[in-house]
Symmetry: C2
Subunit: 338 residues, 2 copies
DNA sequence: GGCGGGTTTTGGAGCGCTCCAACGAGCGTA
DNA sequence: TACGCTCGTTGGAGCGCTCCAAAACCCGCC
């Protein structure tokens, strides 16, 4: 006689019983072992279906050597550059059966000391740090780690895959110089990437015999910072005909500042962003920008991760991809006809 | 004699040994039990620090009844409305010691059948579905589930927390009518939310004795769709003085289309978005929009989740929050002086 | 019909933790 | 001095799985 049964979740034993096989065989089927007869496999799958069985990730992790998961630490969900990174990563990792877990730095800050802690507790097989690494990031040796998109702030033993920000900013600046601009300002923000971009800008300016002019907003790299920095630049250096922003979001702010002052883009003011984030290609911005090749960084990061997980002992030398200028509608020769 | 030791991760036993206590006591300390003497607590914490011990989430999950984690399923990382939702959720959940795991629908689609599967395998304590629910979403009964931001597509037994899209669109339309606009177009897209917004728009138009005019882009709700729809609208109905878009992203496209046609916003064309996403408040857009109160949806979702986790048997009735119009710079009376 | 070799299937031993019942120590009270 | 309580602490059992060595099975061939 069956009384009200407690709604316990089915385990691998339940599946084994209803399929008439051993729990080990069920495990084999679930993990796609080739050495299982077709008949048994079908029986197990049917039992799984019938019971609505879901394997317990926790038990699998505890018993097995690996979690088949890599953790990705990002800065802030609003910084869209990570989306392409994730895509590249995902495409490189999925064929190997690895999944991705994403943790946001700012959001999780309240719960745990660091999203890293969460991932380490989770026993991820690898880690991608898509944040500016800080000194506090001590990870156990032997854990494959790739720092993606940032060159600065060393995580010991980690691979580094990034684009050459200095080169990218230099190229963008040269693009403006090539168009005939002489008074080119740069809107900078906080962080190592912004600093490298500022250096690239300064180098290109100096090489062209021009005077660099770097302005910051409130110290970050938001749209507001871009706006404030652009306002300062346009007010203090009215002859400016072109602006290079530290990223696309700041460029958006610069566009707003230009619009307010009645400056048409690109006729009166050329604006260049950085990152080629999704907003850059909108009809509204048509932003000339620098493709930081996030998807490819993700792909290479995936490769590095796989190599390390596969047993490769140490980190490969840092890889700096060459960024690529994407010319859209926000740049033109100075004084170009409307 | 110690030979090269295998770099095994320290376990709770290692901590217990170096602290000179039992593993149970270590567990107690780790979980913040009040009934532990200060001396032992300090000793354990010191041992944890010394060994660099990280508790195994897997073991804790397997042994304990709960994971202290709720899963959030989102659509696409590019849809920024979820950021505020996450924040509200996080603030409501963190005090209870619950953490959040986020999975993206489109990204994970390659690895597993559905991010839900991942969460179910993970044995989350609750689930927030911030996606349009589909019929395929069958979750085990007893698992607290909240559908956030969408009213349509039922998940059996789930709580529903959303804003009233119909009401919001209606209010936005009335705002435009109140400003004196008569020819107001609506840019719609795919999905239930868009349909409800279109209904609200149509209702307001009809109530005001005006003729609704609904245009779609390519069927989705991207910037491109907004652009295409706006182009169609402006070309087929040249007298249009105001546009309500199904969301902020589409509004961005509309802004671009207006700009291309030499229409100034808001003097020649008023544009209203929907969602009050981060882009709406930028200097560049200054978009009048409808605050869909994502953070509060998150907060309420957190409450519902806590109630269900706390043992409340069934779902509460669906809650429809009243959205709020956020008036910024993209709307004005028709023909207003520049 | 029995044997060797390969393939398929199985039970047992843990993984690292939480939960629980029980234990010891200290202390107030009879 | 003995007793009962409480507080702090402990060992054992078990969560659901994977891994491993060994058992069972199958086949062809002598």
């Amino acid at each position: 006689m069956v009384t009200s049964d407690p709604p316990r979740r089915p385990t691998i034993y339940d599946v084994a019983r209803t399929a008439g096989v051993s729990k080990s065989l069920v495990s084999l089927v679930l993990r796609g072992s080739p050495s299982v007869s077709e008949a048994r496999r079908a029986a197990v799958l049917a039992a799984v279906e019938e019971l609505g069985y879901r394997p317990s990730q926790a038990a699998a992790t505890l018993a097995g050597a690996t979690t088949r998961t890599v953790g990705v630490v990002i800065d802030d969900y609003r910084n869209l550059w990570f989306v392409e990174l994730l895509r590249g990563l995902q495409e490189g990792l999925a064929p190997h059966g690895l999944r991705i877990a994403v943790a946001d730095h700012t959001l999780n800050a309240h719960v745990e000391a660091h999203p890293l802690d969460g991932f380490l507790s989770m026993r991820v097989d690898g880690l991608v740090i898509a944040t500016e690494p800080t000194a506090a990031m001590r990870v156990p040796e032997g854990l494959p780690v790739v720092v993606a998109g940032h060159r600065e702030g060393v995580v010991p033993g980690a691979d580094v895959v990034a684009t050459d920000d200095r080169l990218g900013a230099r190229g963008a600046t040269e693009h403006l110089v090539g168009l005939g601009h002489r008074r080119i300002g740069h809107l900078t923000g906080g962080g190592g990437a912004a600093r490298l971009r500022a250096e690239g800008y300064a180098a290109a300016m100096t090489a062209a015999g021009l005077e660099p002019l770097v302005v910051a907003g409130h110290g970050a790299t938001t749209e507001e910072d871009g706006y404030v920095a652009a306002v300062r630049l346009l007010d203090t250096a009215p002859g400016t005909t072109a602006v290079l922003a530290a990223n696309d979001t700041m460029a958006m702010g610069a566009l707003a500042a230009a619009g307010e002052r009645g400056l048409r883009v690109p006729q009166d003011l050329s604006v260049v962003g950085y990152d080629d984030s999704p907003i850059a290609s909108t009809h509204l911005l048509r932003l000339t920008t620098v493709d930081s090749r996030s998807a490819q960084i993700g792909a290479v990061a995936a490769e590095r991760l796989m190599a390390r997980i596969g047993g490769s002992p140490g980190a490969a030398p840092p890889l700096l991809l060459a960024p690529e200028l994407v010319v859209r509608g926000s740049t033109a020769a100075p004084g170009a006809a409307g």
